[in-house]
């Protein structure tokens, strides 16, 4: 049972090659005056060697024991995917749209769409949590949260 070692090993091998190439481009310098790419070049090589050994062992195991189990079985991938998409959109749009609007939108998305609570619960929870967060972070702690489209509204 290699538990995905083959796949992950190959992934890290590719990463290590990328690092080696990029570090070399940064310049290794000389031993008595190491350049910006010095440490990373050798670290990349070390990572590559480790990945190769992982891949090698996984390959041997696979030939001996057959295909490994699925990593993602029995997993509610859709839910995770949707939540993460929502949160990523939040991060990308936060500064443009503003904290208050985006936070309410995100919470409505999570409570209403993903958790499927009723609209009353969703509305109440979203507004209350956003207000509390705003009070805590903006009013009390003076964190500079982005205003976004509510820029005109000075409060």
């Amino acid at each position: 049972m290699d538990k995905g070692d083959l796949r992950s090993g190959i992934f890290w091998l590719i990463v290590s090659i990328f690092i080696i190439v990029q570090s070399y481009g940064l310049g290794l310098g000389a031993l008595n005056h190491p350049g910006p790419g010095f440490l990373f070049f050798f670290t990349g090589i070390f990572l590559g060697i480790l990945s190769l050994s992982l891949v090698g062992e996984a390959w041997r195991k696979r030939r001996a024991e057959g295909i490994s189990q699925r990593i993602f079985e029995k997993v509610n991938i859709r839910k995770i995917l949707f939540v993460m998409i929502g949160v990523f959109l939040y991060a990308l749009l936060l500064e443009k749209v503003g904290f208050i609007v985006m936070t309410i939108a995100l919470l409505v998305f999570i409570f209403g769409f993903i958790e499927k609570r009723g609209w009353l619960y969703t509305a109440l929870a979203s507004v209350m949590i956003t207000s509390a967060a705003y009070l805590l972070f903006q009013a009390w702690l003076k964190t500079q949260l982005p205003r976004g489209i509510l820029e005109f509204y000075r409060f």
């Binding site: 538990k3 995905g4 070692d5 992950s8 890290w12 990463v15 690092i19 990029q22 940064l26 310049g27 000389a30 031993l31 008595n32 005056h33 190491p34 350049g35 910006p36 790419g37 010095f38 440490l39 990373f40 670290t43 990349g44 070390f46 990572l47 480790l50 990945s51 050994s53 992982l54 993602f72 997993v75 509610n76 839910k79 995770i80 939540v83 993460m84 949160v87 990523f88 939040y90 991060a91 990308l92 936060l94 500064e95 904290f99 995100l106 919470l107 999570i110 409570f111 958790e115 609570r117 929870a125 949590i129 967060a133 972070f137 009390w140 702690l141 003076k142 964190t143 500079q144 949260l145």
Partner: protein, 495 residues
């Protein structure tokens, strides 16, 4: 000396400062309990609110938060297996296992008491040895610093329960990640690809929040079942005599280890907790049981990380050199209040210096009082239904990562780390080595390059200097031992 301490008490016991100490400690514990927001983010977020306060009160409050987070972090580690912050990662290993066996009470208890003892001793140490120790630590040249950090990373990969090879891979990757951004020596941008968010490097706070917080939430979203939570009533908070007997050695060792590791730049609470775990495992009569719920595996690291928190103040307050990220934020805080940390701080602002030190002692006492009886409260906080809790955790992380540098780029970075952390968990890679290497990376690289400059390119400098040699030998032993013991196991099986 005694006069100074008495003076410190006079400052710290003023009602206003007591209140701010309490607020700091309370907020710190709360933040420590909630996974997602770490001490750096919290201190960064709360920094502006201290502007209006007199310097002493502001610094006292921030120090209280720092300590509080340490205490609070152990609570989530033990009860929910989510480290409240990086230095409680180790506590999860055995603490959570103890909780699953119904021994959450003693785990929490010993961690609180151990932390108190360690914190108290480290503050006494700070008072007595401050100036002298800082001098010694500063005599560590680049080769010693380099070797120490190599040991720190090796220790970490040694103790991870998974594959050491994979942990080493993660450490390598973390080292690279630490290099993203501008190169201090040459001024070149590395691995930034002209992305605004990467120019200043990858923030530690977003990375930690993502790798440990977000990924954990994602993991919990996988199944509709209630997540792994110790739901049985938490009883018997006071550890038994046997628990004390088992743990006292660990606490003492952890305190001493943590204190010294906290002083050394690049050391700190995280390394201290991991190092303590490794040492306890080595010293133990039953190392095989580590990871199943052994109390000294909780007592030692908890003591170590609190002692390190105290020790970390030494280079900051006496020399103006922050040994880790949180202390770097403290440095900023002191400067914003018009104070210059360093040898002159003692003379120019004795109320800040001694008042803060003494307030830490008081803070420790407050924490002990807060944590044990209020565990019921913290548990209730954690018992909020998960569908309500995870959006809150997300929100805290989102705002927290945003507020460190006021840029949405950090939020995106945090989320990417979250996905990475999730995949790593599924494919069984450890995140802690990556984070430690990321933190130590820049310092490690600087030490390496300085060493090679000093030695004109010769690597022998690392082995001709005795302290450095000692560290490297330790690292080598840690790397080679597992391979030998594994071969023996395999050959035994074959026989």
């Amino acid at each position: 000396m005694i006069d100074s301490v008495v003076y410190g008490f006079q400052v710290a016991l003023q009602p206003m400062n007591l209140i701010y100490c309490f607020i700091g400690v309370l907020i710190g514990t709360l933040v420590g309990v909630l996974p997602g927001l770490g001490p750096s983010a919290t201190i960064a977020i709360l920094l502006p609110s201290t502007f209006r306060l007199p310097p002493v009160s502001g610094i006292i409050m921030l120090a209280g938060i720092w300590y509080g987070v340490m205490y609070g972090g152990s609570t989530t580690s033990i009860l929910v297996n989510i480290p409240g912050e990086p230095s409680s990662v180790v506590t999860c290993l055995d603490g959570y296992q103890m909780a699953k066996k119904g021994r959450a009470g003693p785990a929490l208890g010993i961690s609180a008491f151990g932390s108190f003892i360690a914190g108290t001793f480290s503050i006494i140490g700070l008072t007595l040895m401050g100036p002298a120790l800082a001098g010694l630590a500063l005599r560590f040249g680049p080769p010693e610093r380099f070797s120490l950090m190599v040991v720190g990373i090796t220790v970490l990969t040694y103790l991870t329960s998974g594959s050491m090879r994979k942990s080493l891979m993660m450490a390598c990757f973390g080292l690279i990640l630490g290099g993203v951004g501008i190169d201090a020596i040459s001024g070149i941008y590395r691995f930034t690809y002209n992305l605004q968010a990467l120019l200043d490097g990858l923030g530690l706070v977003p990375a930690v929040m993502g790798l440990f917080g977000i990924s954990e939430v994602m993991l919990n979203l996988e199944t509709e079942m209630r997540r792994d939570f110790v739901t049985s009533r938490i009883e018997h908070l006071l550890p038994t005599l046997k628990d004390w007997a088992d743990s006292i050695g660990a606490i003492i060792r952890g305190t001493v280890l943590g204190f010294f590791l906290g002083i050394i730049p690049g050391g700190g609470a995280i390394v201290a907790s991991f190092a303590s775990y490794a040492i306890e495992k080595k010293v133990s009569k039953h190392p095989g049981k580590f990871g199943t719920g052994v109390i000294e595996a909780v007592a030692g690291p908890e003591a170590a990380n609190n002692a390190a928190a105290g020790g970390a103040f030494i280079p900051l307050l006496t020399l103006g050199i922050p040994p880790n990220v949180v202390m770097a934020i403290f440095l900023g805080a002191l400067m914003i209040h018009g104070l210059q940390p360093g040898p002159l701080l003692m003379q120019n602002a004795p109320d800040v210096f001694w008042g803060t030190i003494v307030s830490m002692y008081i803070g420790n006492g407050m924490l002990l009082v807060l944590n044990l009886p209020l565990i019921g409260l913290w548990v209730k906080v954690l018992r909020v239904p998960y569908h309500l809790l995870y959006p809150l955790i997300f929100l805290f992380c989102l705002i927290g990562s945003y507020s460190v540098r006021n840029t949405a780029g950090d939020v995106v970075i945090m989320l990417i780390f979250g996905v990475l952390g999730y995949l790593m968990k599924k494919f069984q890679y450890e995140a802690a080595p990556m984070i430690l290497a990321m933190v130590l990376g820049p310092m490690l690289e600087e030490a390496l390059r300085q060493s090679l400059l000093m030695s004109f390119g010769s690597f022998t400098i690392f082995v001709t200097r005795p302290i450095s040699l000692g560290f490297l030998v330790t690292a080598a032993i840690l790397l080679i031992t597992p391979m030998i013991t594994q071969r023996r196991k395999i050959s035994h099986l074959e026989e």
